[in-house]
Symmetry: C2
Subunit: 186 residues, 2 copies
DNA sequence: CGCAACTATTCATTGAATGAATAGTGGCTG
DNA sequence: CAGCCACTATTCATTCAATGAATAGTTGCG
């Protein structure tokens, strides 16, 4: 069924996206990624080359030119038609909101309710809330700072709404836990 | 600095948490995980045994009893004092809200703004919003369904607030993109 | 008896992620 | 001009995460 050989990860598709503007080599891609995708975790070099290798293997990019001019030898990569098609299809495909939730925060609270008492969970929730509020303040400052381009603002927005979501969840969870005095275990 | 040998992942700590109630073997742990942590992605068996192996290697659990009674041979594992300490410290440690944002949704929109025009991004955002609204409806239904225990409700809450956060972000991003007619590229 | 379903674990493989190592070039400084 | 540092560019070794299939024994049942 999958005409797509691989290139499953988000990282792979982001690299394809960066290559859409023209051929680049690994080092440039790392730089481009880190500055064009604000708030994304910086890409490790090893990751870049490993991913490029898989993309090449799958025919989504090709090596083009082993330039040597001034500096170490480097290999540039370019999108193939298949790579471009893969990128377009990824961009058009809707992300079905994940059926599963994967969050350390949620896992921790769930485990706390299993192994500890509601009191401990409450203490934790309150402390966690404080940390979130603090972080939210920082982020808001970042956003209102001058010199932010569209991408940066959008990324900051994203971080903010989710931080806010965590906060609201912490609050209602706190209330829920408060209501069930003690008898938490099934 | 890290007295903690390894056991970095959330999964490892969740297993420690499940073992807090007493010794279990791999198969039981997988079952327990899947039913006690609602909305979490089901754990693959391979993952369970691999993680148990690392936990044992790091002295956080010990093998206790190679029971054979009725059924295939199985090895139960129990928390060591070090494992219990590790669990407690994990539970008490506040999750500092990640400095980075890792979300396919955000990455896709960022890439779309880089490689495509604002129009395409808008089309995508609208379609994505529709999918989210749909999913939100489903989840809300799940929560109000009868027979939900505290853990299930908390997990559903979590999913809902974040879905809602995505929706609000989609909306403001849509507006931002609409305001910048075309000239998006830096 | 034979077969399906369940319990329990292992294995092989791939991808993700990190950190350190390697290597060449240019420029600056003492 | 020798030595050194900073920068460009890639590779390597290693570990963890994740999936899917394989293996193997047991129980129950028709």
């Amino acid at each position: 069924m999958s005409a797509t050989p691989a290139a499953g990860s988000t990282t792979a598709h982001v690299l394809l996206g960066l290559l859409a503007a023209g051929p680049r080599h690994g080092y440039e891609l790392k730089r481009a990624h880190d500055e064009r995708l604000p708030r994304a975790k910086p890409l490790a070099y090893g990751q870049v080359y490993a991913t490029l290798g898989r993309l090449q293997r799958d025919g989504l990019v090709t090596a083009v030119g082993q330039d040597q001019a001034g500096g170490p030898e480097r290999t540039s990569y370019a999108l193939t038609p298949a790579g471009r098609a893969q990128l377009d299809s990824w961009l058009e495909r809707i992300e079905t909101p994940a059926p599963y939730v994967t969050s350390t925060l949620l896992a921790k609270v769930a485990v706390a309710l299993l192994v500890a008492d509601a009191d401990k969970a409450r203490t934790y929730l309150v402390a966690q809330r404080r940390a979130h509020v603090e972080r939210l303040r920082e982020l808001t400052a970042v956003k209102t700072a001058p010199g932010a381009d569209l991408g940066a603002v959008i990324a900051a927005d994203f971080a903010i709404v989710h931080l806010d979501a965590d906060l609201r969840w912490l609050q209602t969870t706190l209330e829920r836990v408060a209501n069930t005095h003690g008898e938490v275990r099934s």
